[in-house]
Symmetry: C2
Subunit: 188 residues, 2 copies
């Protein structure tokens, strides 16, 4: 797929077909994502692939519970505006995607967040180039239950940076509104 | 350009031809970069374009000075390993690129760093698709001189997240070593 088509088709997908993604395709996408640059070529990323519906539901429930607790204790929390949506039991933060990929980053490195975001960007574009759809679900980082962390296999000193829902989109939505580019200054 | 070529050709470029990048190409690249997703579609990014060689040299010198001071006062600083290189007067952190784009992010928003990293990733790929080369120069964020901040036009409450050197590469290097993807667990 040419780049301009990827730009057009890489949308946040919130409705997926009931169709599994073949493991070899997931592996190819992850192989592409690690071609992202990273500060000092540190490659601070690790991946967890979840195809099990029950497990996806459990990590979604854990994240919702933790987020709602944080919102309740801090009315200025940035997710306050999503409170009603999160309280809705039928709202699935992963939009019934057949697969969730968690990109973890080494919490001890200074540039981990941005480096893993670069890998996530590559991952989302690679998925798009293969006819798949993705959604970076920031809510999904809120996993604190030690037993769940162990079950997922998250190593000590690693944190979840990009939880990404992935699957075949039922349709590709239009590009949501973008502001004009804010070019503050051109210094010639 | 098809996506697999972009993956191959998007390398960190550290040697540029002595050839300006036309302003309309820079604008097209920035237009592509704002198609990146952002949390809640917040689009926390702004851009500064610097084509002026003297200004590029001055922001590079400011960053080097500040970094060296921080390294001197903290021997555990993550940039300690680059100290010798930074002390070398002839080392240009922007590798004599004809243009530097600073991507700024709204410092008041929770996900600014990762969102601007996504825009940076789009920007670097868009540049690649147009035969240009880029290098994300993390050193370049270290600008603290109030007069320089004013001269650059950095608004209050915004911070530099991605300083990106951009120009025509003298050559495209091979892909530097990548570790095998670290897939911790597949949960089926």
């Amino acid at each position: 797929m040419i780049f301009s088509e990827i730009l057009k088709n890489r949308r946040s997908i919130r409705s997926f077909e009931d169709k599994a993604v073949p493991p070899e395709i997931i592996n190819s996408i992850i192989n592409d994502s690690i071609l992202a640059p990273s500060a000092g070529n540190e490659q601070p990323w690790k991946f967890i692939i979840i195809n099990n519906k029950d497990m996806i539901n459990r990590i979604a429930a854990e994240s919702k519970k933790n987020l709602l607790e944080r919102i309740a204790s801090n009315p200025n929390h940035s997710a306050k505006k999503y409170e009603k949506m999160l309280q809705n039991d039928s709202f699935d933060i992963y939009y019934n995607a057949p697969t969730v990929i968690l990109i973890l980053g080494d919490a001890g490195l200074k540039h981990t967040n941005v480096n893993c975001a670069l890998a996530a960007s590559y991952l989302m574009m690679s998925a798009t180039s293969r006819g798949l759809g993705t959604c970076w679900v920031a809510f999904g980082t809120e996993i604190y239950d030690p037993q769940m962390i162990e079950e997922l296999g998250i190593p000590e000193n690693y944190k979840i940076i990009a939880p990404i829902a992935i699957g075949y989109p039922t349709k590709i939505p239009d590009i949501p509104h973008r502001n004009e580019p804010q070019i503050i200054k051109v210094i010639n």
